[in-house]
């Protein structure tokens, strides 16, 4: 217990964090092996990002919004799932929050997520879009999650708009948005953070700085010392931290959330992350990195670090750590198996009306359909 200090997260927080970090990692392991076997298309690994993604999502409340990109599985899992129902053996009664009670059935949600990422019928887009390219906005449960489009940077203004709606509604809700460091070079990053500064939006933007954008190293992306140096240019708060250190992550988010909830405005967080994988599984970008650099980053895995720390502060013993790992693996194995057993999407979904129901959708449907088929 020696290291446990005032700022240390609560035992509940640590249990949730541990579980979701392992759940995220188990998912990655499963999908990486499928990708290597050629059983799925591209896979963008989130290995190394877990302390940051899970740490970011842990403190969200109902109607707080999460905006994710391609390596934020950990945040999505943490945001969606009631762990006390998903893995009851791992949690205490007091771990169950009021929101957990509201949250949808975690098994069903996990199935939709697995189906989505596997491109199956039960996915959120029912086959129309890939992986994390969707959102889930559910008034009943207060779940607000907006996924990505491929155009990097484009979701940052959207996150700002989610935050603007909070101001308009006069609530204390916040928005946590993720973005790779590569996308910080996009104009949308600038326009959105500038608006966030001017309007004092309750927005936390987390840059996942994993050292490369595809093949491009940091020194070809920007010349600032750290990306949080951009915060003063927007009149917002900024911090750079070691994104593999859960305590550092947690502290940075607690500060940023406090600012956002009390009307002090936006924060730009830069999480320094290790390059533990290439851009996408098997695209040749990993090989471009020098072998010694690759080896060095592999030693920065946030998961063993977190578990060693849990052990040191007495928050978990070897048995519990093993139990968490095994439970996470089993849950993911089952979810993926069920996903794989789920039928392909239905072809007719391709033809669904591109307009939401109403006069426009009706008018669209009245047009001569054959125009595209001779």
């Amino acid at each position: 217990m020696a290291e446990q200090t005032a700022g240390t997260p609560s035992p509940t927080t640590l249990r949730r964090a541990h579980f979701f970090m392992r759940l995220s990692r188990a998912w990655d392991s499963r999908f990486e092996s499928m990708a290597r076997a050629g059983n799925i298309g591209r896979w963008y690994s989130a290995v190394g990002n877990e302390a940051t993604t899970v740490g970011a999502a842990l403190s969200l409340l109902p109607n707080d919004a999460l905006s994710t990109v391609h390596r934020d599985l950990g945040a999505i899992l943490t945001h969606y799932l009631d762990p006390t129902r998903l893995a009851p053996a791992l949690f205490e009664p007091q771990d169950r929050t009021a929101w957990d009670a509201l949250r949808p059935d975690p098994g069903a949600l996990l199935h939709r997520l697995a189906s989505q990422v596997l491109g199956r019928r039960d996915g959120f887009t029912r086959g129309v879009d890939r992986s994390f390219h969707y959102g889930l906005i559910d008034r009943a449960t207060g779940l607000r999650h907006v996924g990505m489009i491929s155009h990097l940077g484009a979701m940052i203004p959207v996150a700002a708009g989610l935050a603007l709606a909070n101001l308009q509604d006069g609530n204390q809700n916040v928005v946590v948005g993720f973005i790779g460091e590569g996308a910080t070079s996009q104009g949308d990053f600038h326009e959105a953070l500038n608006m966030a500064g001017v309007m004092k939006l309750p927005l936390i933007l987390v840059v996942e700085n994993n050292r490369y954008a595809f093949s491009t190293p940091l020194h070809e992306q920007f010349a600032c010392e750290k990306l949080s140096d951009r915060a003063p240019g927007y009149g917002i708060a900024g911090e750079t931290f070691d994104g593999t250190d859960f305590e550092a992550v947690h502290g940075a988010f607690e500060r940023a959330l406090a600012r956002a909830r009390t009307g002090e405005g936006a924060t730009l967080l830069e999480a320094m992350l290790p390059r533990m994988r290439g851009h996408a599984e098997g695209d040749g970008s990993y090989e471009l990195i020098a072998a010694d650099e690759r080896a060095r980053w592999l030693t920065h895995d946030p998961l063993p670090r977190f578990e060693a720390w849990l052990t040191r502060i007495g928050a978990a013993d070897a048995a519990r750590i093993a139990a968490v790992q095994e439970t996470a693996t089993a849950i993911i194995e089952a979810a993926v198996a069920r996903g794989l057993a789920t039928p392909e999407p239905e072809l007719h979904e391709a033809w669904r009306n591109p307009f939401a129901p109403g006069p426009v959708a009706d008018a669209f449907a009245r047009q001569h359909a054959e125009v595209t088929r001779g």
């Binding site: 906005i137 484009a154 979701m155 700002a160 709606a165 949308d188 500038n194 008018a363």
Partner: protein
């Protein structure tokens, strides 16, 4: 009864809908105290305050993306471009983010994009454009372009209430020139329905917005020569009201398409294509277009006028078509 200008009709629609639904809000550059470059939003700030009449910094993409975010959680944003020409700076948010959300994950995006567009003011290449064809090509966007104050009012109200992104093209030349008496009470023009602006027998003109008025004037002129022209005000470009269009084309058997955008790959091409496909057997002559020449809009007024598809060019085309 007092006449309402096209501009005031738009403002009335904004006002009425903002009164009706607290989720409706307006966003753009200089839209608050100043009331926007054309003063369309004048007075809204005083009534609805800074959270519903939101001045943004000079950032089209940022504002459009933010509108999407707000729309996802229940707001109904209306974003004003200062001129339609600047929409290219926020293009990606519209064509890839806003337009495609519903098809991708079935989340409605109630959103109106206000585009003050068009030429005739000697304003040069960057304050005169007619960009509707870009948006017509993007699945998931409705594209509308009213030509009368009544439709400016009624279509704005319908656009705001629709659960889809609507690109609303308002012609800056019509703002203060078009006037008519509008009743009190609720006035909605349905989206997706064209309007027969003038009945006729031998040539159909398909047009919208400013060129609709030029077309009507031209029709009037050639009527004296015994040429009977039916003029269809498309109003909604996407989705197209094929029923009204084809009925007129099949009746008249000759077609002139008139629009202000440049010809190549303009929306008129789509109309011509659908007609050449669906009404081929009824055609008694080539499908013709009168449009802006394939050039940027020159600053010099006379030059601009030479390239604009105005009444004279339409009259000449009608005469030629009548003789065919």
């Amino acid at each position: 009864m007092a006449e309402t200008t096209y501009l005031d009709a738009i403002r009335r629609a904004l006002f009425e809908e903002m009164e009706r639904d607290a989720n409706v809000f307006v966003m753009g550059q200089d839209v608050a105290q100043f009331g926007g470059a054309f003063r369309v939003t004048k007075g809204l700030y005083e009534r609805f305050g800074r959270l519903r009449v939101v001045n943004t910094p000079l950032c089209e993409s940022g504002a459009l993306g933010a509108a999407l975010g707000a729309a996802l959680v229940g707001k109904r944003p209306i974003v004003e471009m200062q001129f339609a020409d600047f929409v290219s700076c926020g293009f990606n948010q519209i064509v890839n983010n806003i337009a495609r959300t519903y098809y991708r994950w079935e989340q409605p995006v109630p959103f109106v994009l206000r585009l003050p567009f068009g030429g005739g003011a000697g304003a040069g290449p960057f304050h005169s454009q007619s960009p509707e064809a870009w948006f017509a090509h993007v699945p998931g966007l409705a594209v509308v372009a009213p030509s009368t104050p009544a439709d400016a009012l009624g279509m704005m109200k319908s656009a705001i209430r629709d659960d889809n992104p609507v690109v609303y093209l308002e012609h800056r030349f019509l703002y203060r020139r078009e006037k008519e008496s509008l009743g009190e009470g609720e006035q909605l023009t349905p989206l997706g329905k064209a309007r027969v602006a003038r009945e006729g027998r031998s040539i159909t003109i398909l047009s919208w917005s400013w060129t609709l008025h030029e077309s009507l004037a031209a029709a009037e002129e050639v009527a004296r020569e015994g040429i009977s022209v039916e003029v269809i005000d498309l109003r909604t470009l996407v989705p197209l009201d094929e029923e009204t269009v084809m009925a007129s084309v099949k009746k008249c058997s000759k077609v002139l398409i008139v629009h202000e955008a440049t010809a190549t790959a303009g929306y008129g091409a789509e109309l011509a294509a659908r007609i050449a496909d669906q009404a081929f057997e009824w055609l008694d002559g080539p499908v013709k277009r009168v449009t802006y020449a394939d050039r940027s809009s020159p600053y010099n007024k006379h030059m601009e006028k030479a390239l604009l598809p105005g009444r004279e060019a339409i009259v000449a085309a009608l005469r030629k078509l009548a003789r065919y």
